[in-house]
């Protein structure tokens, strides 16, 4: 019979090899850099990292990604504010919109076919991206 301590440490550390830990730190670094540099989008790398690196299903990967990105965004946001990038505050209007849209979006999740939506979203990103470069 295993004692409680070793079982606990097993649960906490699992059989994660050093190589895997280093890989996770490295991928986390990539998520952090992109999220800080672009002020978002960390989830685009974080979700696949959680799926492939930690074997999470899509739903858990999405939820857990928010928990991972939260502290990263907190740090990035502090730097943006400290360096004076967020002086004027249209924050309240945009923020209110995001709140309303976010609630609507999480309810709509059940009713909207995700494939069609993904393609529409990709087209919007492409157009927006090109427009920003030009």
């Amino acid at each position: 019979m295993k004692n409680k301590k070793s079982v606990q440490s097993n649960i906490q550390s699992g059989q994660t090899s050093l190589k895997k830990k280093v890989m996770l730190v490295f991928l986390g670094g990539l998520v952090g850099f992109l999220n800080g540099f672009f002020g978002g989008g960390g989830g685009m790398i974080c979700v696949p990292t959680l799926e492939k690196g930690l074997g999470l299903d899509n739903k858990r990967a999405h939820a857990t990604a928010i928990a991972v990105i939260f502290p990263l965004s907190l740090v990035s946001c502090a730097i943006y504010i400290f360096k004076g990038a967020i002086q004027s505050l249209p924050l309240l209007t945009v923020g209110l919109g995001v709140l309303a849209g976010g609630i609507a979006g999480s309810f709509a999740l059940k009713f909207i076919p995700s494939k069609t939506l993904r393609i529409i979203f990709a087209v919007i990103m492409l157009v927006g991206g090109v427009r920003l470069i030009i």
Partner: protein
């Protein structure tokens, strides 16, 4: 008019964010292109609104037991360190350069999405 657009863009970004598709990749270009915000301001607003929304999302997801904590500490350690580097670099670059970099990032993400969609159809 501007206030109306600010709310509208917020709703659109929040909606896609709520769907789990990355609201920031929509909100940031909308603010920069149509409202002529500094790229840094758009990105900063996105970070702030994300933090705000994340509190609610995390509360709901943790109630549904969807958050896995095992091993995520390694990702967070690497992430926090490089967040400092990324955010610092973003705030010292000229807005127009950052804007073009962000545009490139969006194009890459769009291409990845298309490839994924095509692969799924082939299967």
């Amino acid at each position: 008019m501007n206030i109306f657009l600010q709310i509208l863009f917020g709703v659109l970004g929040g909606f896609f964010g709520g769907l789990g598709m990355g609201g920031g990749t929509l909100l940031i270009p909308l603010l920069t292109i149509f409202l002529h915000f500094d790229q840094q301001l758009s990105q900063g607003i996105n970070l702030l609104t994300f933090l705000f929304m994340a509190v609610f999302s995390l509360y709901i997801h943790s109630k549904n037991n969807l958050i896995v904590t095992k091993n995520i500490v390694y990702i967070i350690i690497g992430g926090v360190i490089f967040s400092v580097a990324g955010a610092f670099l973003a705030t010292v670059l000229p807005s127009i350069i950052l804007r073009k970099c962000f545009g490139g990032f969006l194009v890459i993400l769009a291409v990845v999405e298309f490839v994924k969609a095509l692969k799924k159809q082939a299967n």
